[in-house]
Every structure is written in C-alpha cells, then in structure tokens.
C-alpha cells in the first residue's frame, strides 16, 4: 500500500515537473491560474510569489496550479491543496477564519470606524458661530 502511494506520488510529481511552464490554452483558466500564482508564496525564496520566482520549486508549483485549474479545481481547492502541503505560510492572502485572522482583517476597518467616531466627536464639540472663509490659496 505504502509503496503504491509513493509510486503514485512520484509519477504524479514527475508529471508536474515535466509539465511545461507555459500558458494554458483557455485564456480564462490561464487568467485564474495567474491570479492564484500571484498570491501563493514561493517556499524557497525570500518574499516572492511563485509568479515571480525563478526557483525550480516555484516552477513546479506553477505547473501544479495550472494542472489543477485545467482539471476543474476551484480557486479555494487550489489554495487548500497548497496549504495542506506547505502550511498557511504559503498563502499571501492570510485566512480569516481564526481569531488572529479576525484581528488581521478586522482591525483596519475597526480603526476606520473608531477614527470616524472620534472625528465626529471633535467636530460636534466645535459648534459655535462659524464664519465661512474662502480659501485664498490652499
């Protein structure tokens, strides 16, 4: 059984490695694949998505994305496939389904609301007799 898995896996990896790093025939699929390549992180580089990296592993990962897209996988399935193998690290679009994800994605908007409320409070406390003055230069 284990042998079979290894055999299958290696055949499969060979398939991925041999797949040419060239565009898919269907332009819509290719566009989706490229969008995904821009948000998957190359695991061998400093801080680059696989779309930009010239590392061999990035090439394999690009090929993998194209194979999966061609096989009818959804964007989420591709992301999950990579996450299962390389961890959340590989996703440049961090997930939002944990507490830390909520903090990361929610904080900017919470700050905006908070800032807006402070702004309103500041403006409200300044209602006196107001004389409009036209700006003469800026």
């Amino acid at each position: 059984m284990r042998f079979l898995v290894i055999l299958l896996a290696s055949v499969f990896m060979m398939g991925a490695a041999c797949a040419e790093d060239v565009a898919l025939d269907n332009p819509n699929e290719e566009a989706r694949a490229q969008a995904l390549m821009r948000e998957l992180r190359c695991v061998a580089c400093e801080n680059e998505p696989i779309s930009q990296s010239s590392a061999p592993i990035a090439e394999d990962m690009r090929a993998r994305v194209r194979v999966m897209i061609e096989g009818g996988a959804s964007d989420t399935e591709v992301r999950n496939w990579f996450e299962d193998r390389y961890g959340e690290f590989v996703l440049f679009r961090p997930k939002s389904d944990s507490l830390s994800g909520w903090v990361l994605w929610g904080t900017p908007f919470a700050l905006l609301v908070f800032g807006g409320l402070i702004g309103l409070a500041v403006a409200r406390s300044r209602k006196a007799s107001v004389e409009p003055v036209r700006p003469e230069d800026i």
């Binding site: 679009r93 900017p108 800032g115 702004g119 004389e131 003055v133």
Partner: protein, 630 residues
C-alpha cells in the same frame, strides 16, 4: 586621507554637541554657526570616504569589502553609500545638512524657537554621529590591504539605485528637522500659524525627495528584478510607504494650523510621528527582523541600537507631547462639513491606512512569536488599504473647493450627478467595450474624476484663462499633485488589472507568440562587460506594422559570484513590452531559452503621476510674494 575624514567626523560630532547645547540654551546665532561648521566638517569627512572609493583605496576596510577596480565610476561613487557604514555616514551628513539649512533659511522671527530647533537637531545629529563613529565606522583601515576588492552587490549597480538612497535619506532625515521643530514648538507650548508656516516648508522639503526616492526604488525593482511589477507590498517597500503616508497627512494637517491655527496638537504629533516612522523603517530594514528581497545591509545588533534610538526619541517626543498637548490652542471654530472637516477626514484615512500597512507588515512577526507562520501579501493590502484610499479620493474633488469654517453645500446635486454619471460611463465602457471588471471600471472613473476635479478647481479659482497663469505657486502645486494622483490611479488600475504575463521557450531561430506579439529569437550570444559577463539574447518582436528589437540579458558578476537579470523593455506608447531571459532548457530534444514576457499597459503613468506629485510639492515650496498679511 581617510584619517583626515575620521578626524573631521569627530570634530563634527563635537560641533554638533555644541549646536545641541547652545541651541537648547537659546543661543540662535552660536547654534547656527556650529550647525554650519559641523555640516562643513562632515562634508569633508564624507568626501574623503567617496575619494577612497573613487581611488579604490583597498587599505580602507569598507572599500575593500564593497568596491572593485573594474567597476564603472558611477558605481564606485555610489558604492560609498551602497553599504551599511557608508549609508550611515550619508544619514549623518543629511542630518547635519538639514541643521545647517535650517540655520540659514529658518525665518520665523522667534529666536527661541529657532535656537531650540537647531539644538534638538544637533542632538539628533549627535545620536547618529555616535552610532556612526562608535558602532559602524566607515573609516577603519585594513592591514595588509588586499589587491582587489570584493565588489558591490550587482543588484545595486544601477543608475536609478545610485540616487535612490540619497533621495530616500533626504526624505527620512528631512523629517528629523520637522521633528525638531515640533519638539521646539511644544517646549514653548506654541504651535501656531508662524510655526506652521515654517513646519510646512520643511515637511515639503522632506516629502518631495522621499516621493522621488520611493519612485526610483520602485522603478528599479520594475526593470532590474525582472518581475514585471512596480509595487510588491514587500516589507521594505512598506517601510518607506509608512513615513510617506504620515508625511502626506502632515502636509494637509499643517495647512489647517497655518491658516486657522487649528489641529495644532495633532499637527505636532504627526510631525513627530513622521520621523519616528522613518527610523522605524530603517530599523525594520536593517535589523533583518523582516525577510525581504530589498534588504541589503542586515545586522541584528545594529538593529538593536536603532530600536534603542527609536524608543529614546519616541519616548522624549511623546512625553513632551503628553505634557503640552492640552496647552495648544484649538483655533477658529468649524463644523463637520467644512474645509477643516475634509482635511480631518484626509488625516483619519491616511493614518488608518498607515496603521494598516504597519499591521500587515508586522503581523507575520507577531504570528511567528505565537508559533504560527503566516504570510501577508498583496491580496491583503488590495482588500484593506486600497478601498480605504479610494473612498478618500472619491471626496477629494468635491471638498477641495470647500470654505474654511463651513462649506457652501448648495451645489452638491451637481457634484453628485457628475460623479455618478462618470462612474456609469466607465461601467458601460468597461463592461461593454473593454471587457474589464467592475472594480477596474470604478478605478478608472476615480482616476479621471481626480484629474478633472483638480483641473476644475484650478479653473474655478482662476475664473478667467488669463488668471490661470497668475495663480499662486501653491495653487499650482496642489493642482499638479492632485492631477498626478489621478494619473497614478489610472496607471495603477490599468497596469494591475490589464497586465499580461506568460512564459515562452524559444530555440535559436525559433518563433513564438505572446501578448499579441510574434517573437523571433535571432541569437543568444555570450558577451562581456567591464565587471561582468552575460548571455545576451536578441529578439525581434513584431505586431501589426511595428517591429522592435529587444535584448534581454542574464549577467553574471564574478566578483560577487552573483547573477542578475537585465530586462529588455520596448515602449509602445500605451505600455511596455517587457522581457526577461531565464534558463536554458531541453524541450523536445532541443535546447531552448525560456523568456518571461509581460505586457504592462500604461505603466509609465504610474511613475509620471508620482513624479508629478513631487513636482507639485516643489511648487508649494516656492516662496510666495509677500502680501499685506503680516
């Protein structure tokens, strides 16, 4: 020679200390002379360092580590600041330079304010100089001197990158002077119109070079790193973006302080923060706490010293702020829908945007401390930062006509109708003709809205065509900056949503297609440069009636044992056909060269827009004709 520079630097340190002490004692004249002398000595010191690089004097350790006799002269000179020690020397030079410039050009009529500003600037210089001389000295000798140097990092051997660090430092360090002004103003609890007029000039003097520096860095990354893009949300890029955003907020807030004596505490806080974010940027880049493709001189120990400086300056300024903020006046009254209210909205959004960039940059570090490794990249910023700024830009054309105190809202229907019509037109064009996404259509409408809005505001103020050219430089500055912003938005939207990228593998003499172009690989030849050798491909690209020859290269620098990509770009007028040469590979039994091919539509508009913003800032620096207002 270098010993002379070393000595001059020590003397300069002593004079900077004198500048600090006399300045804080309120001796404007003495502090001013000390500032100029300290700058002069540091200039001599820096020039001896540059001369050592020019002469390839390998008995100087820094030159031996970072230079090479075969390097072109430009890169010998820029090599002087293309390393940690040399760039710190530049940092010191610019700090002292702003002190000297302040001694000459500050004109507030308030001796104490100016003296203290020079004093604080002097102390900031003492900090930087001590760090230079005692923790990262560029003046050390090497014995025995090697026959050849180790060479400069090849990625840095590029014209744009020769001027990128000096520009960036003029910006970062320029904010040190704004910091000093803010601290001096807070010490006497007077952040008023006179203070603001001075602070505004210096914030512009920092903002303009910072903008140019960021644009140069981005352009360098575009054509040198061979990725085809212009902004990657890389931590190092973010580190320069944060002070820029704070600086942009400051430029708008200080107007309220100048014209209405309002927002004074807030303006002072921003003035402090701009410099603190600059140091933090230096810390993030230099300490190596973040992984980046841009970081070149990484050393954790030096990072610790920078962090110490950050805490020290930050602590000082923020405590001062806490003690004095309540004493600063509130200015003339205003209601929410007014020029003040609009500028407040500008500030809220820019600050939240800065904090968003900070969060996205530091979050992976925090997660790592908690035992999780995650990445935060472009998709995060696209979904948080971008909509926030877009919302701010939507209101810009409307609110820039608003009056101080209270806006005249009688024509709001006209504005709303114009805006909605514009969006609908672009939606129709986008979906019907260009087949782009709705988001992209909205982005384009926004860019056009900004450009028209800025020009409309100019015409509204000028009333007649004749008067357009007689408008004050500041109005021109505002117009150019906002037009630049609009063009930037158009370029950014079109480039990001319309970029085409692909890979083609060509045999010599073979033909392929990409982005509608037919590419023929004429030859690949090995060539040699002054300090590198390379594989150089020559391709003919044909599309319709146009024909272009592109010659991308893969260089190898033996001194540094490092390869670089030299991309080839053909400008079509509507975009860049961009090619990078990859590896040679065997496909179907024959050797083929792999090329990454991009078509980047309207990318020049991105840079043109940013440079226009810098030029607009320059116009605002133009001294005004004195009118009867005192």
């Amino acid at each position: 020679m270098i010993e002379l520079g070393h000595l001059a630097a020590f003397l300069s340190l002593a004079l900077a200390l004198a500048q600090g002490i006399y300045g804080l004692m309120g001796q404007r004249r003495i502090a001013g002379w000390a500032a100029m002398a300290a700058f002069g000595l540091m200039l001599i010191s820096f020039l001896t360092l540059v001369m050592a690089f020019v002469r390839s004097d390998f008995s100087v350790a820094l030159v031996a580590q970072h230079s090479h006799t075969l390097k072109p002269m430009l890169y010998k000179i820029s090599g002087a600041w293309g390393n940690h020690e040399g760039s710190m020397a530049l940092w010191c030079l610019v700090t002292l330079g702003f002190g000297a410039a302040g001694a000459v050009w500050m004109k507030t009529g308030r001796e104490k304010l100016e003296a203290r500003t020079l004093g604080i600037q002097g102390l900031l210089a003492v900090g930087a100089m001590s760090y230079l001389l005692f923790a990262s000295s560029p003046f050390l000798r090497l014995d025995p001197a090697p026959f050849q140097g180790a060479g400069l990092n090849p990625l840095l051997q590029d014209p744009a990158l020769s001027f990128h660090p000096p520009m960036l430092y003029l910006g970062y360090v320029g904010y040190s002077f704004v910091f000093a002004l803010a601290a001096a103003g807070m010490m006497e609890s007077r952040i008023d119109a006179v203070w603001a007029r001075e602070a505004r000039r210096w914030s512009l003097a920092a903002f303009v070079p910072l903008t140019i520096g960021i644009a140069l860095g981005s352009y360098w990354a575009y054509y040198e790193l061979g990725w085809g893009g212009w902004w990657f949300w890389d931590p190092v890029e973010n580190a320069s973006l944060m002070p820029w955003l704070i600086g942009a907020a400051l430029l708008h807030s200080v107007i309220v302080t100048e014209k209405r004596e309002g927002f004074s505490a807030w303006t002072a806080l921003l003035a402090v923060l701009a410099f603190l974010f600059s140091i933090m940027g230096a810390f993030l880049v230099r300490s190596g706490v973040l992984t980046s493709v841009h970081a070149f001189a990484v050393d954790p120990e030096r990072g610790a010293i920078l962090l110490f400086g950050l805490v020290l300056y930050g602590g000082f300024a923020l405590i001062l702020f806490a003690l004095r903020a309540y004493k600063l006046s509130g200015g003339k009254p205003w209601v929410l829908l007014s020029r003040e209210g609009a500028l407040m909205a500008n500030n809220i959004v820019l600050i939240v945007a800065t904090l968003t960039v900070l969060l996205g940059t530091l979050f992976p570090l925090m997660a790592e401390a908690a035992g999780k490794t995650i990445s935060v990249g472009e998709p995060y910023f696209r979904l948080t930062f971008t909509p926030m700024l877009a919302a701010l830009l939507v209101i810009l054309p409307v609110v820039q006509a608003w009056a101080w105190g209270k806006a005249d809202l009688s024509n709001w229907m006209k504005w709303a109708a114009g805006g909605i019509a514009l969006v609908l037109v672009f939606m129709a064009l986008g979906v019907g003709i260009w087949s782009i996404s709705l988001g992209a259509a909205f982005g384009l409408a926004l860019g056009v809205w900004l450009v028209f809005g800025a020009l409309y505001e100019l015409s509204r103020r000028a009333v007649t065509v004749k008067r357009v050219f007689k408008m004050p430089p500041r109005v021109w500055g505002m117009t150019l900056a906002h037009v630049g912003l609009g063009l930037f938005v158009i370029g950014a939207v079109v480039e990001t949503t319309g970029r085409y990228e692909t890979t083609v593998a060509l045999a010599e003499g073979g033909t392929g297609t990409a982005a509608g172009w037919t590419l023929t690989l004429d030859e690949v030849r090995a060539i040699e440069g002054p300090n590198w050798y390379a594989d150089r491909a020559v391709l003919t690209a044909v599309k319709g009636g146009t024909k272009a020859v592109l010659a991308p290269m893969k260089r190898y620098y033996p001194a540094a044992q490092m390869p670089t990509t030299e991309t080839a770009i053909h400008k079509t007028g509507t975009g860049d056909l961009y090619m990078a040469l990859g590896e040679q590979r065997i496909v179907d039994g024959e050797p083929r060269w792999v090329f990454r091919v991009y078509f980047n539509p309207l990318i020049d508009l991105v840079y043109f827009g940013v440079i226009l913003m810098a030029i607009g800032g320059g116009f605002c620096l133009w001294p005004r004709k004195r009118t009867k207002t005192a």
